[in-house]
Symmetry: C2
Subunit: 346 residues, 2 copies
């Protein structure tokens, strides 16, 4: 046993065999069907595997490469409108290209739990990753993602060295706020979605529109994802006569706010204008139908898959990283005026 082990490269199956004093086929048999290896040799091999930190994964990965055409999709609460629509868009394109989706739901308990969740997804060797960076939890999760893999981010603050689809939410927040101010409202109250209040957010756009118009921006109020929280906030705001215009961080919250306003006798839009964000399918049939910023989540999902596929092709064809790995693709929303907003009563 005069062989030396080169510590500069990962241990090979041969290194394990040498250290365990067994043949290479025995190690292979141990990995494949351990019950066919004697207990004594099994113990020696297990010890050698541990000592050398031998990882059979690269071989396994190469062998199974053609079979696991999966895309890892990382997202918080997949039942929310934006998340579910985006995933549907990714799936639609993935399906045509012969890929399937492996979904990893990021729990609100971030940190170590997110890290473990992401690791269990990455352990399955996806061809690439799409991270729906729609709130603080998913934004934090970016730290745990393997940056060597093809990856696309949707939304979130701009990161370096990654291709990202911007939904231009800041511009959307700016547009809807400016629209309300343009109708003659003295200011616009903002009820924000949970998490994510970075420079690119809806909230930042609202604040900036107030600043540019020279009107005071009242302290934003934070809602949670349940529309019931919008209803409570709507009733509270409805009791303040100075409130005449509200921009809700999403449509579900906006619809809850309208209900809450109605409950305390304020009519929409006669007494208070309310605008939402996203263009939820129910927003257009709400009574009154909801003014909102239309966001094309489905298209963002489709686009994310297409961008990811060019990175995957770079890897498959050994081209390394092209410019496609660091792009910013803009997918702006647009204002849809409906019945829930109007000029203030003088």
């Amino acid at each position: 046993m005069a062989r030396t082990v080169d510590h500069n490269k990962p241990a090979s199956i041969k290194d394990v065999a040498v250290l365990a004093q067994v043949s290479v086929p025995t190690v292979s048999r141990y990995l494949n069907s351990p019950e066919r290896v004697s207990r004594e040799k099994r113990d020696r091999i297990a010890k050698a595997v541990k000592l050398l930190r031998y990882r059979p994964n690269p071989i396994a990965r190469a062998l199974v490469k053609e079979r696991t055409k999966t895309i890892a999709v990382l997202s918080t609460n997949t039942t929310l409108f934006g998340q579910s629509q985006t995933i549907f868009g990714i799936e639609e394109r993935a399906q045509k290209a012969g890929y399937t989706l492996n979904i990893g739901v990021l729990s609100p308990e971030a940190g170590e739990q997110s890290r473990q969740r992401i690791q269990s997804i990455l352990d399955q060797n996806p061809a690439g990753i799409v991270l729906l960076d729609y709130d603080q939890v998913s934004d934090d999760a970016f730290a745990y993602v393997n940056k060597d893999l093809p990856i696309i981010l949707i939304a979130g603050n701009r990161k370096s060295d990654v291709t990202q689809i911007s939904m231009q939410e800041r511009d959307g927040g700016y547009a809807v706020t400016s629209y309300l101010l343009g109708l003659g409202h003295k200011t616009v109250y903002h009820v924000s979605i949970p998490g994510g209040a970075g420079g690119y957010s809806r909230l930042a756009g609202w604040r900036s529109a107030c600043e540019d118009a020279g009107v005071p921006a009242p302290a934003p109020i934070k809602a949670d994802w349940d529309p019931e929280s919008g209803k409570r906030i709507g009733s509270a705001l409805g009791r303040k006569p100075e409130v005449t215009a509200i921009f809700a961080g999403n449509d579900e919250i906006g619809m809850g706010i309208i209900r809450g306003l109605n409950d305390v006798g304020r009519r929409v839009p006669e007494d208070v204008s309310v605008a939402g964000f996203d263009d939820h399918p129910i927003a257009k049939i709400w009574n009154p139908s909801l003014t909102t910023i239309h966001q094309d989540f489905f298209k963002a999902g489709e686009k994310a898959f297409d961008l990811l596929k060019t990175e995957i092709d770079d890897v498959d064809q050994g081209r390394g990283r092209t410019d496609d790995w660091n792009r910013l693709v803009e997918l702006p929303g647009h204002l849809i005026e409906r019945e829930s907003t109007g000029v203030p009563r003088s």
Copy 2:
């Protein structure tokens, strides 16, 4: 080279090495990183692999076995409330047990396309399958599923030799219809969801409640998944003065119907009572809040994973099929009375 090859068992890596006149580690290297093997040896190994029909996959599968703990989830449109909630419930339990979800979306174009989609999911060796049997497309898809794998069906008509979770939708349809008739309405109109109108459905429960009460059941009207279709149907029904009670196949359609009724001057519940199904999060903040049947989709998802896990354990522990593979688990909904229903004006 006096070794003989035993044709009764699959060729091993050692057989390949012997035939190619190279060492086992060289074959391993060839499989792992062929560029590190000389062209001449590469050709010999390739020939030996072909001649012996050597399949490295079983080894690879064994190596990755512990890592690919995935559950295949088959569903139509994953953005719909019931589907997305159920998947969220499955994920929640799967995550705790160290499994990840592989999502296969079944397109409305059933038949061959569904078969291919399911095959590409099954090719990735999931530990088990959950089929969300919520409409005709998913019901048809059951034919293409590999019955050897652990599988759980949620909803749908009762199949044989499979464990199935019944949401008792027929009972729900019966309960809500009986409730409306009990308020004094002469009959109840039904606006149904697309697909699935089997014996266990909401529609069947409605029809049966009408029959049992001895009232005529008007021809059901079929909506599509977009709440806008509910709005159109609501306006049409609102123009018929004899319509005083409507049972909608789901809450989104129900909310659309209320909006459509309002648009033609009919008030809810004063002129027309409207009930939905599912208990969508927006139903409780709608104005008026919507009477509905609460369905616990999240719990159905959790339960499906738990049941699937017992089947997976049977396989892992070589116990074969126990009774757990052919159970019917009932998860009944319940009526929630809200503001959208009331006694008819005499």
